[in-house]
């Protein structure tokens, strides 16, 4: 029992410092235990976040294209060497353009991309508020119109009185 537990524990620890991406194993062994775990984590993240330059809708971890496997190897090499995420992303962008980023950088070109949805939502809320307000105002106006002003009330009262007197 204890032995089985130990084996599972060791397996879990070793799995943490190993990234399995696209069916391939990418072990990280060169640094300390913590370094290896964070590197494996970084590798997994970047393989998800970087887009295969040849394929429209696949990231590096999904794609089987030759260029994707080359880039996975390059990514592995750089992560293993202890490079940080930012400089690896820069390396890729310098070669393949911003196209490779599934999470595009914020700049003048991508401003619409980042704030377009928020802008549209604000516009929708504004239109909603305007429509609701104008409807409410119209209803209130109608209610006011329906109410009798004093002259009308007097006239009606008079007519009613007249009819009741005629009946007598």
């Amino acid at each position: 029992m204890l032995r089985a537990l130990c084996i599972t524990w060791f397996m879990l620890v070793s799995l943490e410092s190993m990234a399995i991406v696209n069916g391939h194993e990418y072990p990280f062994k060169d640094g300390t235990e913590i370094e290896n775990t964070t590197r494996a984590q970084l590798f997994r993240e970047l393989a998800e976040e970087l887009r295969c330059p040849k394929c429209q809708n696949q990231n590096l971890s999904d794609s089987n294209a030759m260029i994707a496997s080359d880039l996975r190897r390059e990514l592995y090499k750089q992560v293993k060497a202890g490079k940080d995420g930012q400089s690896i992303v820069e390396f890729m962008v310098n070669r393949y353009g911003e196209f490779v980023l599934y999470k595009p950088k914020m700049n003048r070109m991508t401003l619409v991309l980042w704030f377009g949805p928020v802008g549209l939502a604000l516009l929708a809320i504004m239109i909603f508020v305007v429509v609701v307000r104008s409807r409410r105002k119209r209803i209130q106006d109608n209610v006011k119109d329906d109410a009798l002003d004093p002259q009308e009330a007097q006239r009606i009262q008079q007519l009613l009185n007249n009819t009741s007197e005629e009946k007598k």
Binding site: M66, D70, L71, N94, R95, Y96, G97, F99
Partner: protein
């Protein structure tokens, strides 16, 4: 509510329809190259023919087409006869033999003709990665100062050479003008 406001949804529909219709004719693979107007990356690679190393200095001084090719690439075979023709017309073409087998590549040049001034052997694809190559064939137009001025993805054919030739000849004219100024 004002009457024109009733046409607003229709207007939005027309606008969206137009955008989507336009997008039908856009090529999503037409990604702008990150390397245009940047210096050709440094390299030192052996040629296929004599295994002597060539560097970026060897493509400076004259306008070059730098063509990425491999014997495993079918479109390269389609492109090849046209490159041979271009070379005959005096276009200087430098080859990057991308992740290829040396013997196969030499045999290909033997059988089909060699349009290249020289071809470097990029067996590991390191130079090609620095060039942002995603597949073969890809062709860069590099000016006399060693700056990449244009990138073409896919085979060059008689059909699409027209606009490339315009760039090519304008660069050649540019480098001749520069030489004149330099010579005085």
């Amino acid at each position: 509510m004002k009457r024109w406001a009733l046409f607003l949804p229709f207007g939005i529909f027309v606008l969206l329809g137009f955008l989507l219709w336009r997008a039908l004719y856009l090529d999503p693979k037409d990604v702008p190259s990150a390397l245009v107007d940047k210096a050709f990356p440094e390299f030192s690679l052996p040629t296929l023919m004599d295994s002597k190393n060539k560097t970026v200095a060897d493509i400076k001084g004259q306008v070059h087409l730098v063509n990425v090719w491999g014997t495993w690439c079918i479109s390269c075979r389609v492109e090849h006869p046209f490159l041979v023709e271009l070379a005959k017309q005096g276009v200087r073409i430098v080859g990057i033999n991308y992740k290829d087998d040396n013997d196969a590549a030499l045999k290909w040049l033997d059988d089909l003709g060699n349009p290249y001034v020289f071809s470097v052997d990029d067996e590991d694809g390191i130079l090609s990665m620095d060039l942002g190559v995603t597949g073969a064939p890809e062709t860069f137009i590099v000016d006399a100062t060693g700056t990449i001025r244009h990138k073409h993805q896919g085979p060059i054919t008689a059909g699409n050479w027209g606009p490339l030739e315009t760039i090519w000849s304008s660069l050649v004219a540019e480098s001749q003008a520069m030489n004149k100024v330099g010579g005085q």
